[in-house]
């Protein structure tokens, strides 16, 4: 379809471009709304037998309406204390992980990068295990100490990765290789702790390592919301630099006036903060950070102005779906979300790998 030569051709193509952009924007909005609806449905899953109507009534009550006659106080507590925090965590956590994965892949130009391959998840697991074996778990604020320890270790790992980068140069290769090396190191550390641990501590460590949304309560949700609020606008501001770096390479981006090292540094710190916060509260949830960016890219394209928000939406969908699947498939047994997300994610990922390989030779 050759474009007709003429004054109007460029304008027509430009208008087409705008229409495409707007329709994609609409797609993101639709995805977000769909996710909200799905989240509402997920809020009805559980043994307490509270369907959509009752859940809605309870939410209304929590916002100030009087309690309906057919609802008991324990029903309200089930929704407010067991279900809602879990759903909120799935949405915020999935969004955070999806976003973190996308920016990391953009800034390293490597589609196989995720918070996991930077060693952060392994470091967080090691931090939690350390706290548990030091007996901190038994203290009154034990659970917070474990969370704190996981978070600190995750940040430490990131610092080492970027510290190494500063000395050797923050090329994508350096970042990735250092991250993988640290991942193995922390995994070995966790395994060592598991050997030294008493049976009870071992059970605690293993329990923590299985990513689960059950553990997280409202304090966790609030903490994650705060970190998200601090980092998301920042990342959106870097959307165009990310476009340039991802599509043109470091040198080209620099030649455009983009401070590539600074962008990489800030973006990775933000991604680390997001990931560390999520994992400190939920345990290790892999795959969302890896697969959500790819799925988002397949649907919405590579423009980070659209990709960033959409990968958050996809990430939230993934975690919600994984949690729902874990709850429904073997009811009343609840499969931890860290497990189901892999079952959902692996087939998708393999499919993507096959597709990419087919396309790589152009």
């Amino acid at each position: 379809m050759a474009a007709p030569a003429g004054a109007g051709a460029a304008d027509a193509a430009a208008r087409r471009h705008v229409r495409l952009f707007r329709s994609r924007l609409l797609g993101i909005a639709a995805g977000a709304i769909g996710m909200a609806v799905f989240a509402l449905w997920c809020a009805t899953i559980g043994a307490a037998g509270l369907g959509l109507g009752k859940v809605a009534a309870i939410v209304a009550h929590l916002l100030g309406a009087p309690l309906a006659d057919d609802l008991k106080p324990s029903d309200v507590t089930v929704v407010s204390h067991l279900r809602l925090p879990r759903i909120a965590m799935a949405i915020l956590g999935g969004a955070a992980l999806g976003l973190a994965g996308t920016v990391m892949q953009g800034v390293t130009r490597n589609p196989l990068v995720s918070p996991y391959t930077l060693g952060i998840s392994a470091a967080a697991a090691f931090g939690a295990s350390l706290a548990i074996i030091l007996g901190l778990g038994g203290l009154a604020i034990g659970q917070w100490l474990i969370v704190g320890s996981a978070f600190v270790l995750a940040l430490l790992c990131a610092l080492i990765v970027f510290g190494a980068g500063l000395r050797v140069g923050t090329s994508p290769e350096t970042v990735i290789l250092t991250g993988i090396a640290l991942m193995y190191l922390f995994m070995a550390g966790t395994a060592t702790i598991q050997f030294l641990a008493s049976e009870e501590q071992l059970a605690s460590v293993v329990h923590w390592t299985f990513g689960s949304l059950t553990r997280a309560g409202w304090p966790a949700v609030v903490a994650l919301a705060a970190v998200s609020l601090a980092t998301w606008p920042l990342l959106m501001r870097y959307a165009w630099p990310l476009n340039a770096i991802a599509s043109g390479g470091d040198d080209f981006a620099r030649s455009l006036g983009i401070p590539v090292e600074r962008v990489r540094f800030v973006v990775c710190i933000a991604a680390v903060l997001l990931t560390a916060t999520v994992i400190s509260f939920t345990g290790v949830i892999g795959f969302v950070g890896l697969v959500a960016p790819h799925m988002a890219r397949m649907i919405i394209g590579t423009d980070h102005r659209l990709l960033l928000p959409f990968s958050a939406v996809v990430g939230a969908w993934l975690l919600l779906a994984a949690d729902a699947a874990g709850r429904l498939l073997f009811a009343p047994t609840v499969l931890p979300v860290g497990i189901t997300v892999a079952y959902l994610g692996v087939p998708v990922f393999l499919h993507l790998v096959m597709r990419n390989r087919g396309r790589a030779s152009a």
Partner: protein, 339 residues
């Protein structure tokens, strides 16, 4: 006098507040005896049923419930967790229990936090810890207002443990090769099974090994992989092999086949145990019954038949299963060559 007696009668009819302090130092208070308990981990569930009956079991985990022969009266709706580490709190709440008990290697911290708003206390009670057996049983008795029954169970336990201790004192201890349910997997000092063998007047074949000298990959005292040559070199006098933990007994042909396979193994073929025909099978249920008391009794009878001629471990097991658990005893779970 009469007034005193009357007031005592009256006060005992009134529910007295109950206060307990659990393993984690947590203090729980109840206005009266607890009627509905969610008990996670099979050993906990067993004790609750023994002390307070099936109806007191408001919830249990799937791992335990899966043995349908052992819990036929408990319907699936009472399953509230996959195991002691993966608990579905909504199901727990739906069962409206007064209390949740979890062993110390379960997710009790998480459970406490999640169930606090519902006013359901979480008590750490480790049923599988044989050293705490009597203490645990007494606590359950206190909690459920079944002190008499708890005392009875403890007496049942104590009577047989005392008998064992008395009769094996000073005896020559045969070397026992204990095999868990996989080939070449045995136990070490520190495992409860090691203590069971000692209580039965035996010596665990690898009981002298210092765990600290072992490589990291093979240090679990309950699952220790051993080289066949080491077994042969140690030359056990008795072989004790455990069979799967279900209530139904191992079918006779399978039992015979297993015994034959054990005897044929190169590591064991020349041992004293095989030569003397002392190869025994015991199910986990018997071995673990009443905190391994039944296992010890049965093993003692095999090790020192002359000293335990009057003791019938089968009857003890039957009493545990039928009188205390209210389940149907399907018959012996032990086999040896001579049977």
């Amino acid at each position: 006098m009469a007034a005193l007696g009357l007031s005592m009668l009256v006060s005992s009819a009134w529910a007295e507040p109950i206060r307990i302090v659990d393993e984690s130092g947590y203090e729980a208070n109840f206005d009266g005896p607890v009627k509905r308990i969610v008990a996670l981990n099979r050993y906990n569930t067993e004790f609750v049923r023994a002390v307070a009956g099936s109806d007191a079991v408001a919830g249990l985990d799937r791992d335990a419930w899966m043995d349908r022969d052992y819990w036929p009266e408990i319907e699936e709706a009472r399953v509230v967790a996959a195991n002691q580490g993966q608990i579905d709190y909504e199901s727990v709440v739906a069962q409206k229990p007064d209390l949740l008990i979890v062993p110390r290697n379960g997710a009790w911290q998480e459970a406490r936090e999640k169930l606090a708003p519902f006013g359901i206390p979480v008590v750490v009670l480790t049923g599988w810890d044989v050293l705490k057996h009597e203490e645990n049983v007494s606590m359950l008795g206190l909690l459920t207002g079944n002190k008499d029954r708890a005392d009875g169970l403890n007496a049942f336990f104590r009577k047989h443990m005392d008998l064992l201790a008395e009769r094996v004192s000073g005896v020559e201890q045969p070397k026992v090769y204990f095999e868990a349910d996989r080939e070449n997997v045995t136990i070490l000092k520190g495992s409860g099974w090691h203590d069971m063998i000692a209580a039965a007047g035996g010596r665990s074949l690898f009981g002298d090994i210092d765990v600290a000298t072992l490589p990291e990959s093979n240090r679990n005292v309950n699952i220790f992989t051993v080289e066949p040559e080491d077994i042969a070199a140690a030359n056990p006098d008795v072989v004790l092999r455990l069979t799967p933990a279900v209530l139904a007994a191992v079918p006779a042909e399978k039992a015979q086949a297993l015994v034959a396979e054990l005897k044929a193994r190169p590591a064991l073929a020349d041992s004293n145990a095989v030569k003397d025909g002392k190869v025994y099978l015991m199910s986990y249920y018997v071995a673990g019954g009443v905190s391994k008391m039944v296992g010890a009794l049965q093993l003692a009878k095999w090790l020192h038949p002359d000293r335990f001629a009057d003791v019938d471990p089968d009857a003890v097991m039957r009493e545990w299963i039928e009188a205390w658990q209210g389940a149907k005893y399907p018959g012996r779970h032990t086999s040896s060559e001579s049977r």
